[in-house]
């Protein structure tokens, strides 16, 4: 399995914090079609890991939900570079997803003008059935992600704007803090 010289999270952070440029080709999914193709590869790679055999589809599912959210909520409105950074390291059991999109606060404000800040937006996104693309039957993807993380040995750190959500099976809490990259 390919090993990264630099931590996959650090590479994702560098990309979103740096100037507007496409990430390295091996991490770049410019469209949801490419993302789906690479997600399928993740599924195949995780399927071979004995310790994940019971719930690797759930890992693929939450990666799919988060990645597709980037495309769905920024369609036609990418501020600069469209598409997402998607990388994983099966040896380290790490997956990194990143986008240079509008952020959850902006998309939620379309339907919830009362949302105050990035922390508030993340809390709503992970706990309430609401979508920046209402109406329609949508808005439960991150609730699903939260449910999976809390039920399995998975840790997630989710950043949007100046806030971060940390959830793990260990702490069983949704921890939301200010965070600046």
């Amino acid at each position: 399995m390919e090993l990264f010289n630099k931590d996959t999270f650090a590479q994702a952070t560098d990309w979103i914090g740096g100037s507007a440029r496409e990430p390295e080709a091996r991490f770049y999914c410019p469209t949801s079609s490419e993302f789906k193709g690479r997600l399928s590869k993740l599924q195949s790679d995780l399927e071979r890991l004995p310790d994940l055999i019971d719930y690797y589809p759930l890992i693929v599912a939450i990666v799919g939900e988060i990645g597709n959210n980037s495309f769905d909520h920024n369609l036609g409105n990418w501020p600069d570079i469209s598409g997402i950074f998607f990388s994983y390291d099966t040896n380290k059991r790490q997956v990194a997803l990143a986008d240079r999109g509008q952020g959850i606060l902006r998309t939620l404000k379309r339907v919830r003008p009362d949302v105050k800040n990035d922390e508030d937006a993340l809390r709503i996104a992970f706990t309430e059935v609401v979508s920046g693309r209402s109406p329609g039957s949508r808005g439960n993807g991150l609730k699903f992600v939260l449910g999976v993380v809390l039920s399995k040995t998975i840790e997630i750190n989710f950043f949007s704007g100046a806030a971060m959500v940390s959830v793990s099976n260990n702490n069983k809490n949704l921890k939301i803090d200010k965070f600046l990259l």
């Binding site: 599924q43 589809p57 693929v60 599912a61 939900e65 597709n68 769905d72 949508r138 699903f144």
Partner: protein, 54 residues
């Protein structure tokens, strides 16, 4: 009526793909008769998400 979801792939994840799948089966759904049961067969599907289901 039985619909085998594996015919749409074993990785069913995006809302867009779910919409396309619905468009593909809509003619079959419209031809269902009253009291006919719709059965969704998940055999062969590995990953399935709320977005596709919605």
């Amino acid at each position: 009526m039985k619909i085998e979801l594996k015919k749409f792939g074993n990785l069913l994840t995006s809302r867009q793909d779910g919409r396309e799948a619905l468009a593909a089966i809509e003619p079959l759904l419209l031809n269902m008769v009253d009291n006919e049961t719709l059965e969704l067969d998940f055999d062969g599907v590995i990953t399935f998400t709320p977005s596709w289901a919605d």
